[in-house]
Symmetry: C2
């Protein structure tokens, strides 16, 4: 097992109860799950084997590292994967399903390039009204594992906002908020203002308000510099202000696109980022709730059932 892997052990010995081995295989990490007869998660592991981290693109070795013992012990149990593993830069490219799509539209694609048969869930493509496509891989599984209706927000380097209606994803949009923050912090003049960054909730709130209120997201960026230069913002608070500004602008833009603005928002993601977005949404007066973890494994289970990979 490689360094950095987090395990949650199988509770007791229950080999006969394993129905599915599932993989949430993204850009930066790989999560694997042992799933029981009723869709319950019996064990979970996480390792730094995202598709961009795997040495020499040896995905088979990475899979064996994180779950080699499971694969041996439950050799007849189907393996189902979602995420960037099905992208062009992944192990095996699988086509996108088209929005609107629900659980029954996401037909896992069989992949024979490993010593055991693997099924990969397609990503989703959305052809927006303006002719600009948007895409996702992995988030569709998390969202559909969770909800049958509502707005889902999956924060990250590339935040996704997803609208589910009557069990189908009918719209989604991607915001490069996390990555934009990182490149501005590490490589732009705004980063040079960030001296000795310390957490500042007020600066974050101020940024969120500004980002939400402005109709000029691009122009607003420069305020992170001017406020600090003129002494209205401490340099140690510029990072929090900029983070709030970008998240506020994201929320504002997303809400402008979404048809039904009063739908509840469910946040699906890691604890830290979920908490940050929850705080930002509260500042905007928007109620939200944070989803239980392991959304991907729930989606794997439902898609395995819907596709007949696992008998109900």
């Amino acid at each position: 097992m490689g360094s950095g892997t987090i395990r949650r052990p199988v509770s007791g010995r229950m080999p006969h109860k394993i129905k599915l081995i599932s993989l949430d295989w993204g850009t930066t990490s790989l999560r694997s799950y042992l799933i029981g007869t009723s869709g319950n998660i019996l064990a979970a592991r996480e390792g730094p084997y995202g598709i961009l981290q795997v040495n020499n693109r040896d995905f088979a070795a990475a899979l064996r590292q994180i779950a080699g013992d499971w694969l041996k012990a439950y050799a007849n149990v189907p393996i189902l994967a979602s995420g960037m593993i099905g992208a062009r830069q992944g192990w095996n490219e699988v086509p996108y399903a088209v929005v609107p799509s629900g659980l029954t539209d996401l037909h896992p694609v069989r992949f024979d390039g490993f010593e055991q048969i693997l099924y990969i869930i397609p990503g989703l493509v959305y052809h927006g009204p303006a002719g600009v496509p948007d895409i996702m891989r992995g988030e569709e599984t998390q969202v559909l594992g969770f909800g049958t209706n509502g707005i889902f927000l999956l924060p990250g380097s590339h935040s996704k906002w997803v609208h589910v209606q009557d069990n189908k994803i009918i719209w989604f949009a991607t915001f490069m908020t996390g990555e934009l923050f990182a490149v501005l912090k590490d490589h732009s003049i705004l980063g040079r203002m960030m001296n000795g960054t310390k957490s500042d909730g007020d600066a974050f709130s101020q940024g969120v308000s500004r980002g939400t209120q402005t109709k000029s997201s691009l122009q607003a960026l420069f305020s992170a510099r001017t406020l600090a230069l003129l002494g209205d913002l401490q340099e140690s608070s510029v990072a929090d202000y900029l983070s709030g500004l970008l998240i506020g602008a994201e929320i504002s833009e997303a809400r402008n696109i979404i048809d039904s603005p009063n739908t509840n928002i469910t946040i699906v993601g890691g604890q830290t980022l979920s908490h940050i977005y929850e705080k930002a949404l509260t500042i905007c007066g928007l109620p939200s709730l944070v989803a239980a973890k392991d959304a991907a494994a729930r989606g794997h289970w439902h898609i395995a059932l819907a596709s007949g990979l696992v008998a109900s």
Copy 2:
């Protein structure tokens, strides 16, 4: 004279006619001018002595390098500088004048830290309606040297849009468009799509249209990736598309803020960038004209007259 310095020689010998030595001293370059009795530019030089390029912050040495012979030959002629040289990171910080401001409000500040007396023109601060300040150093001089009314656009790493009414700057806004393009190109996932960039006017136009039409500037960024991934945009055209997208969004946001949207736009800047923005404005159906060069020297002359530094 350092490498990279461009000289336009004095035409003939006319020492008695020199009334002003002026410096347009920005972040990346230093331009110096010899100005005659009627404000005519008798000689111009440009060198890579921007305030962030000067070794050990030895601004005196840089000034001697570019104009040491002028300073000796015309020792009694006033020296007037504008730009980032008056910033905190510059040679001598001078305060900002406040919008609205015209030529007569920009009182040059005397600086005694050099072997000859130097005057530095203040920058401008604008306190916007939402309580967010914006700032400039140098552009105020270029714009006021030029126009008494209208919208002025100064493209660059940090584009400035400036509204002049009745000889005074009444509003301006900064867009980090050039820097944003650079950091996204060099450090984000969008840059990784840019293989073998070649000029593509159609992709640029497509980007401008998208950037102008969208109300979701941040969300639109990701389209540079999805269009290329799905084969709707060649990877060699992603850079031009993104450039158009950002410039289109800038134009759209600026037009939304400006009170009088039908005012003509004058572009003040280097030839290449001016041409790119002129093209983008044309795509948006907005007439523009490109200003004659050496706008800064014209501003220096008018401010020298207005402040009594030079007798009219």
